[in-house]
């Protein structure tokens, strides 16, 4: 059979192929990615859509955890101050119930308790980053304002709703308890019990003072129970933070395995492609110029 005299198409095809491999290897090394267009690996490119969204979400959930954690801590620390204020009021009440006190002394104790009442009111009106912590979801105005017509002396302006914040795709954490739930229930009321103590101290009636002090003690126990909510939220947030850190690592390692480049392998491929390409070029340079004419004597 006659041999194909035209080597050019074969040589060009060979050169083109080694050039393509060379370009691919270069692109992978320079971008650090093995998938630079969906056609490089359709399945990986498709899975990366979910990975991109998840990665951004996990970043945001982590930020949410940090933000919510400081809010929850602010609430908890306000409640801790309320607890110590109430403890102080109880000891003042106990002192006031002592019948040996002079009337002037009892008035002084009464005004001290009045001061505690004001500070508890301002603690109940604590705001964090412009939002009141204990007003339910009606957090743009102070939840407690003085109201002489109310039996407790104060009106609750908030509502009984709660907010939850997303800290995972299907994980939400409740971030607040409404003041109406923290500071009162059907049988006790923090502000009411303090008001009653002030009134009792002002009246100077020992048994009334004792009764009022017991009322404050009941309120203290109740607030203490409500604080558990924030302790639980903190521990949920802390464990979620650990989970999200792990998730970040998982997503990033998934990304590496989907579209990452094994540098050692890519470098090997590159040098192999370079060798192939030079070999193809060298072969072309050797083969192409040679014909019978090279060996014929030039006509004289």
């Amino acid at each position: 059979m006659r041999v194909n005299p035209n080597l050019v198409p074969d040589i060009l095809a060979g050169l083109q192929q080694s050039q393509t491999t060379l370009n691919q290897a270069l692109e992978q090394i320079s971008t650090g990615k093995s998938v630079n267009a969906p056609s490089d690996n359709p399945a990986a490119a498709s899975e990366m859509v979910q990975n991109t969204i998840e990665t951004a979400n996990v970043d945001q959930y982590t930020q949410n955890v940090t933000a919510v954690l400081s809010k929850v801590q602010a609430s908890d620390s306000a409640l801790s101050s309320v607890v110590s204020s109430l403890t102080q009021a109880i000891s003042l009440g106990t002192e006031g119930a002592n019948s040996t006190n002079s009337a002037a002394n009892q008035q002084a104790i009464a005004s001290q308790v009045q001061g505690i009442l004001s500070s508890v009111v301002s603690l109940a009106n604590t705001s964090y980053q412009g939002a009141y912590l204990f007003g339910g979801t009606a957090n743009s105005q102070p939840p407690y304002t003085a109201d002489s017509s109310s039996p407790t002396g104060y009106t609750y302006n908030g509502n009984s709703d709660q907010n939850s914040v997303a800290i995972g795709d299907s994980t939400n954490v409740q971030v607040n308890l409404p003041g109406s739930q923290i500071f009162s229930n059907s049988t006790t009321n923090v502000l009411g019990s303090l008001s009653a103590l002030v009134t009792a101290l002002q009246s100077g009636n020992s048994s009334a003072i004792s009764t009022a002090t017991t009322g404050v003690t009941t309120a203290l126990n109740y607030v203490g129970q409500q604080r558990v909510f924030y302790a639980n939220a903190e521990s949920q947030l802390n464990s979620q933070e650990t989970y999200l850190q792990q998730e970040t690592v998982n997503l990033s390692s998934q990304q590496t395995s989907l579209i990452g480049v094994d540098m050692a392998q890519a470098a090997t491929t590159l040098s192999q492609a370079e060798t192939d390409n030079s070999a193809a070029l060298a072969a072309a340079a050797k083969v192409l110029p040679t014909t019978l004419l090279n060996y014929l004597a030039t006509p004289s």
Partner: protein
Amino acid sequence: MGGLNTTLLIGIQALEASQGAINATSNNIANANTPGYTREVPQFTETPLNQVNDQLLGGGVSLNGLQSVRDELLNLQIQQQTSSQSSVDTQSTSLQQVQTYFTSTGGDIASALSSFSSSLAELSANSSDAAVQQTVLSSGQNLANAFNSTANGLTSVQSAANTQVTQTIAQINTLTNQIAQLNGQLWQLQASGQDGGTVQDQRDQAVLQLSQLTNIAVTQSSDGETITTGNGSPLVMGSQSFSLQTATGSNGMQQVLDSSGNNITASIQGGQLGGAIQIRDQVIPGYLNQLNTLATQFGASFNAAQAQGFDSNGNKGQNFFTVPSVNAAAGFSVAITNPALIAVSSDGSSGSNGNVANLSATLTSKLPSGQTPAQAYASLVYQVGNATSTATSQSSAIGQNLLQLTNQQSSISGVNIDEETTNLIKYQQAYEAAARIVSTIQALGTVTLDMGSSQSY
């Protein structure tokens, strides 16, 4: 009697034959790199014997024209493969452009979905923060832009394919006209008993170019080649050509009509034309449909979530996205300009974030299509990537096949410089020898004429 004159005649015939052969050889060498050139081989035959007295003497040589060396079957296979490759290449070029719109660049739908989703997660923690609400609004705007630019990108590739259809039809008509003329010339040459190799080369080359443009069927008949499209619409019959026409169809795209006005668009396969029609009428409309479905369903689902809540002013949530009923992705836009209109609240109070969870859920819940927005988009990315890589690998597979066929054709019809050089030397020697015959006969003639003179040497 034969005598010296007959021998002289043989010498002169040999000179002419060698000269003709040298001519053919130099023509082969000259056209060694001409595309579609088929090498020509000189056809020597002995001239009839002379009977001199009782002896039969050779009558010399004559050059009976040139024979071009070709394999018609191979040409046919090359035409078919060229058609397939050119179709796949056209699709691959378009798909390479299409996939840039689905590559993760920051402006693509995946990136936009991602930032929209994380802005909603941020809103969950800061529902009444105007800056964060603005971020959600801007991310929504980005998502709308990503839908728009992806849809517009697809449409622009589609209209480029449409332009290609019109241009290709014009090229096809030029070529069929040219082929018909060459057929006529070839028929005349062959009728007069000539090889017509050059004309045939030109015609074959034109047919090959035609097969690059569309899939054709070639049959040989008594009055030359008949060429039809793959589905049988006539293009060339002998020396007559039939023009294809275009007309704007109901979808605004150029339809292909055969010479009798029938719409043959859907039946055209192969070649640039088939590839462009496939991209324009099948591939891109398929992607656009899915994109529009995603835009429509996601827009509706997000608007429904808005309607479940209340905005920062305490009003019932209004539509966040505007989704046109036709070309939903291209016309997808954000309906509101005031970030306070995002329905974050579930109870009407500005501090509530209860509805943010509903808004976020639209990104993780299944749409009526049965997929989440991310899954629906991811499946589109897979399809585009897979179609592109399939077209690319098909192209290289057909390319390999075509290379082998071309090599085979070249081994039959291609000019080998070594062979031609060898022939050149052979014919040179033959020419020199024939010239020697002529000079020898001349010398002998002189001797014969001088036979009667008394001069001695």
